[in-house]
């Protein structure tokens, strides 16, 4: 009985997809019901995993695991998805495409993410990754009448499956040199195979495939275009849950390699990616005029900070990544949520000019966005500051002080474009009118995200304690 009990999030989402599909087919006017149903199953699955965070268990011949940090990931995916549903309910009607499919695709992508986070076998990682990616390709192009959305989904699809090719080839090479696809067995054999070229090349290609999903330089090229072209709520979901899922997969593979006392062979690779992503993201974001594109480049920079945690290759680094991902999920969703609320019909109100004097026109939204921007910039006492803090500390502990310094420099650069939004909102005046469509649910989602950002910022110690307790 216990066995099924711990598997409830997976069962719930899978059954939810089937129920929603059938319902969508036969019921008229089913969107609202499916939307609320998705919120319900996401919240149920999310809180179930949070409550049972201590129950670690293996399923399906040790192919899938739940408990511990995996449950924290599952919670993040589900909670982020629930917030995105809330944001999307009124947002999609702006484009007249409030399809029931949107919620079904969201559910299936969450299922894929959960499989990735809980995988104990390369099979499951691959399966989860593909479930997630295929849903994402479709989500990106959901505004199918709009050219930008078409282009975004086409680019995402072509480049995404190109990256999948590398992952599959990498898995093939790993399988060939270890004769297994089970992650614990691969980890056991890792020590003796560090000089096997095919094995190392396989792991590298596997890593590259995930670097693509994480949006790390030079595999980031799709990110700005896809975020700009797809719906704002969907872009918010890609940048938070999608990134978190990619990192969770790398943590369960690469992370478990480090934790068995193996030297961090991929450190140079990770360091180069971290430095280039941080600097590239922060610098290019400065020149952007479209707020979604700015957030996309900021997402590249954040991938760089997260990679510092991987490069340090110690417990603190992994704990820091998980903490950072939690913080990043909420602050970025909050920011995208506000952007989605302010966005008008036909992709208007997305440039910085639309945000001038927002503090006068929409004081509450301006305050929410300002908090998210402060947090993204890493200004205490918000969650983002402690995320960076823990990751930099981890880098210093593994003698990568210079990397932490580069991280700090990049944060300083990034303050420029984050605070530019705040300056524009609070200190610039404009005559232009801004009509914002009211959306209570979207506002609720933003408020929840901001509250979580503040709470994580006030009590970072408790969260990091919880995460670290599962790593040891």
């Amino acid at each position: 009985m216990q066995e099924i009990y711990n598997l409830i999030p997976f069962v719930l989402i899978s059954a939810g997809i089937l129920v929603s599909l059938i319902f969508e087919m036969y019921a008229k006017n089913s969107k609202r019901i499916i939307a609320w149903f998705s919120v319900f199953i996401f919240l149920a699955a999310g809180f179930h995993s949070l409550v049972n965070v201590d129950n670690a268990q293996l399923f399906f011949n040790s192919m899938l695991q739940v408990g511990g940090n995996i449950n924290i990931f599952i919670f993040l995916f589900n909670f982020a998805a629930a917030l995105v549903v809330l944001m999307a309910m009124d947002y999609s009607s702006k484009y007249g495409n409030n399809f029931g499919e949107f919620y079904i695709l969201l559910q299936s992508s969450v299922l894929g993410m959960m499989l990735m986070a809980g995988a104990k076998d390369l099979f499951v990682i691959f399966l989860g990754l593909e479930i997630m990616s295929v849903s994402f390709y479709a989500l990106a192009g959901l505004n199918r009448m709009r050219l930008k959305a078409n282009e975004a989904s086409l680019k995402y699809f072509l480049l995404g499956s190109f990256a999948t090719g590398f992952i599959v080839y990498g898995i093939a090479l790993i399988f060939g040199s270890t004769n297994t696809t089970s992650i614990p067995q691969i980890v056991d054999k890792f020590g003796e195979l560090t000089h096997n070229l095919l094995f190392m090349a396989g792991i590298l290609m596997f890593l590259i495939g995930f670097s693509f999903k994480m949006a790390a330089f030079p595999f980031h090229m799709w990110v700005p275009d896809v975020y700009e072209g797809s719906a704002t709520t969907v872009a918010g979901f890609f940048s938070t849950a999608g990134k978190t899922a990619a990192f969770s997969a790398v943590i369960i593979t690469l992370g478990s390699v480090f934790m068995h006392g193996n030297a961090n062979i991929f450190e140079p690779y990770l360091v180069v990616l971290a430095v280039t992503s941080m600097l590239y993201g922060s610098i290019v974001a400065i020149a952007q005029n479209n707020i979604k594109r700015m957030l996309a480049y900021s997402s590249i920079a954040h991938a760089g900070y997260l990679m510092i945690g991987l490069a340090s290759g110690n417990y603190e680094g992994i704990a820091g990544i998980i903490f950072y991902l939690a913080a990043y999920t909420f602050m970025n969703l909050g920011a995208f949520g506000v952007v989605a609320l302010i966005e008008g019909k036909d992709e208007t109100n997305l440039t910085f000019e639309s945000y001038t004097g927002l503090s006068k026109k929409q004081p509450f939204l301006a305050a929410m966005l300002a908090i998210c921007m402060f947090s993204l910039a890493g200004i205490p006492p918000f969650a983002g500051f402690f995320g960076k803090y823990y990751i930099f500390i981890a880098a210093i502990k593994s003698d990568l002080t210079w990397l932490a310094i580069v991280g700090v420099i990049s944060s300083v650069i990034s303050i420029y474009f984050y605070l530019r939004v705040v300056v524009i909102m609070y200190f610039n005046e404009t005559e232009i009118d801004l009509t914002v469509q009211k959306s209570n649910y979207g506002l609720l989602a933003v408020v929840i995200s901001v509250i979580l950002v503040i709470i994580i910022g006030i009590a970072p110690g408790s969260l990091i304690d919880l995460i670290s307790s599962f790593l040891k």
Partner: protein, 645 residues
């Protein structure tokens, strides 16, 4: 209720959030006032219940730590948001929530009709929140957070009427002065905290004090730590030489002066030194410094108070002087006497300020005591309570001030020397004199009120708090009756605090035994001095008003010095403030900032901007180019792995 002690911190925060966020929307003053006061009232009730629960426990079980959550955890540094409930923090919490509640209620009347009513209550609640953090903290970081928080609230409330003129400048200037002078002390405090972490490897009170009690750490280290901590206390508690901000802090609303600048915040330094008693007794040299500074401040501030004419100024200098007494007590190792005086002082000084507020309210903002006179018949309740407080602060037997002040004087003689006692006793004489100068000039004698003023007694919401504080000022001392009178059971208050200061007391161990007869003789002397002071004031200001002017002319030089507060402000202005201004304007601003820093910053920013404009072109929109970049990345990575194997 001990487990719920965190509510006493969270409730004021809740009040702050409600009034701060929705205050401007709530049009009804009553609602705002009740929200603001009731949160503090509930905190007070919880504190009282926690107090009685603690009282019912055996002595060794009276310390509790209520942990809320882990705040920061990095390497060896492990900081929790945790509240320590023990004898000392309970006394402080009772004073802060109790007096705080009374002052909140009083403020509902005093601030009636103010356009920023909600802002006032939001700040006041925020202050209580910060102060409770300061008091209940179980580590130095949380203590420091509260310490800075109360400083912030003090700044906000001093400058509350920011468009109002104050003396030569504005109230916001006074707020800034308070903030900046406090920074000097805070800097010292921060250095002290760093040193503590370096020395003891922890910032948790329990661990630090346990390790400080153990042998092995050189005295010089203790000297530095204690000195830096004391610098922090000097700033916050307005002692020589950093006291200059407190008189200016009177620019704020009068209830604020009562709450922050008399009863609670300024005593934070005393509390901190008492909390770190074990560190201070390990540094005897610094302990002497504490005593000397305390005694000097007590005398110094009392002399200035003799000639001031602004009712709040007199009370401000009186506060500085009384804080000096507390430090004198701490300096001679009589920690519980210091805390006892802190408590009684909170009662009678809050009462004096609230009384002053009632007078100012009645006189439509007039603060010069030369323009008062004969107010007794207009303000009977205010007069009665003000008189009780004045008698208490002067040390008239059986009132609260008598017991606490006498205990300090006794310990400064018993543990210190005759000089400390002499200064203390003489200051007591001066205190009695200037307080009754105030009473006679304000309430008695000839009316010197301007024609357009129509004094009237304040509403009930203001007088009832006065009466409550009057009762406390009168009987509050009975919990600390010296062993001399209470016999076997000893001093109850001292007994209650004993476990906190036990280690410090053992380490000090310089108590000399004196006979009871000495104690009685000293007590009689101090009472006689107090009565002398009152009688002199009566003779001069009631019977023979022209005598004061005669004396003023005869000792013109001395009068000038006292009237101008020893020219300390001018001295600081010439020696420190102006040179810094000049330096920062000519060098820091015009050269360093405008040329070097701005040049570098602007240059870097435009450089980064132009780089950014160039690099963004890299993202050319063609999917195949993206794939090419990826492939190049893959190729480089594969070459790297091939060559590194």
């Amino acid at each position: 209720m001990i487990e719920l002690i965190y509510l006493t911190v969270l409730l004021p925060l809740l009040g702050f959030i409600i009034n701060g966020v929705f205050g401007s929307k709530i049009k009804n003053e009553k609602v705002i006032g009740i929200i603001g006061s009731s949160t503090i009232g509930l905190s007070f009730i919880i504190t009282v219940l926690a107090f009685f629960e603690t009282l019912s426990l055996p002595t060794e079980n009276r310390e509790h730590i209520i942990e809320l959550f882990t705040w920061l955890k990095v390497g060896g540094l492990d900081i929790h948001i945790a509240y320590q409930v023990d004898q000392l923090s309970l006394v402080m919490a009772l004073v802060v929530t109790g007096v705080g509640f009374i002052i909140h209620v009083y403020s509902m009347g005093y601030m009636h009709g103010d356009k920023s009513y909600w802002r006032y209550f939001a700040y006041l609640n925020l202050f209580i929140f910060a102060m409770m953090n300061l008091i209940l903290a179980d580590n130095f970081v949380l203590l420091f957070l509260g310490w800075e928080g109360v400083g912030l609230c003090s700044y906000l409330l001093i400058g509350f009427w920011y468009e109002k003129k104050f003396e030569k400048s504005t109230t916001s200037e006074a707020g800034k002065k308070a903030f900046i002078v406090n920074r000097i002390g805070d800097f010292g405090f921060l250095l002290g905290i760093f040193l503590i972490y370096l020395t003891f490897g922890s910032l948790n009170f329990g661990e630090v004090f346990a390790r400080a009690g153990a042998p092995g750490i050189p005295e010089s280290t203790f000297n530095y730590i204690a000195l830096f901590l004391f610098i922090g206390a000097v700033g916050k508690s307005a002692q020589l030489p950093l006291y200059t901000w407190l008189p200016d802090a009177m620019a704020g609303p009068t209830p604020v002066s009562a709450l922050i600048h008399a009863a609670t915040m300024v005593t934070a330094g005393v509390y901190m030194v008492a909390r770190c008693s074990i560190i201070f007794v390990s540094a005897p040299a610094i302990l002497t410094v504490v005593a000397v500074i305390g005694a000097a401040t007590a005398l110094f501030a009392a002399t200035i108070a003799l000639v001031q004419n602004d009712i709040k100024k007199v009370l401000a200098y009186s506060t500085i002087s009384q804080l000096g007494y507390m430090f004198l007590a701490l300096g001679v190792g009589a920690f519980s006497a210091g805390i006892f005086h802190l408590m009684t002082h909170a009662f009678f000084k809050a009462l004096l300020f609230l009384g002053a507020g009632s007078i100012i309210h009645a006189m439509h903002g007039e603060q010069n005591i030369q323009n008062y006179g004969g107010l007794k018949k207009y303000l009977p309740t205010t007069f009665a309570t003000f008189l009780i407080a004045s008698l208490a602060i002067s040390g008239i037997p059986l009132l609260s001030g008598f017991f606490s002040k006498d205990e300090i004087l006794w310990f400064s003689f018993a543990n210190g020397n005759v000089l400390y006692w002499g200064i203390g006793a003489f200051t007591a004489l001066l205190t009695a004199f200037y307080m009754f100068r105030l009473v006679y000039l304000t309430f008695m004698g000839k009316e010197r009120i301007a024609k357009d003023k129509h004094p009237h007694e304040s509403p009930k919401v203001m007088t009832i708090p006065l009466i409550i504080l009057g009762v406390l000022s009168a009987i509050g001392g009975f919990i600390g009756i010296p062993a001399l009178f209470s016999g076997e059971s000893g001093n109850k208050f001292e007994h209650w605090l004993e476990p906190i200061f036990k280690n410090a007391g053992n380490k000090l161990a310089i108590y000399q035994t004196h006979s009871h007869s000495t104690e009685i003789i000293l007590m009689i002397i101090s009472v006689v001095l107090a009565i002398t002071g009152i009688m002199v004031a009566r003779n001069i200001y009631l019977k023979n008003p022209s005598f004061a002017d005669k004396m003023k002319n005869r000792f013109n030089g001395v009068y000038k010095i006292l009237w101008n507060k020893y020219f300390v402000d001018e001295f600081y202005d010439r020696l420190i403030v102006r040179p810094i201004y000049r330096f920062s304007e000519s060098v820091l601003w015009k050269i360093t900032d405008a040329k070097i820093i701005d040049g570098v910053v602007d240059g870097t920013a435009s450089l980064v901007n132009s780089i950014s404009e160039k690099i963004r072109k890299f993202e050319n929109g063609v999917a195949q180019f993206y794939a090419l970049i990826m492939t190049v990345g893959v190729a480089i990575a594969l070459f790297w792995i091939i060559f590194s194997l």
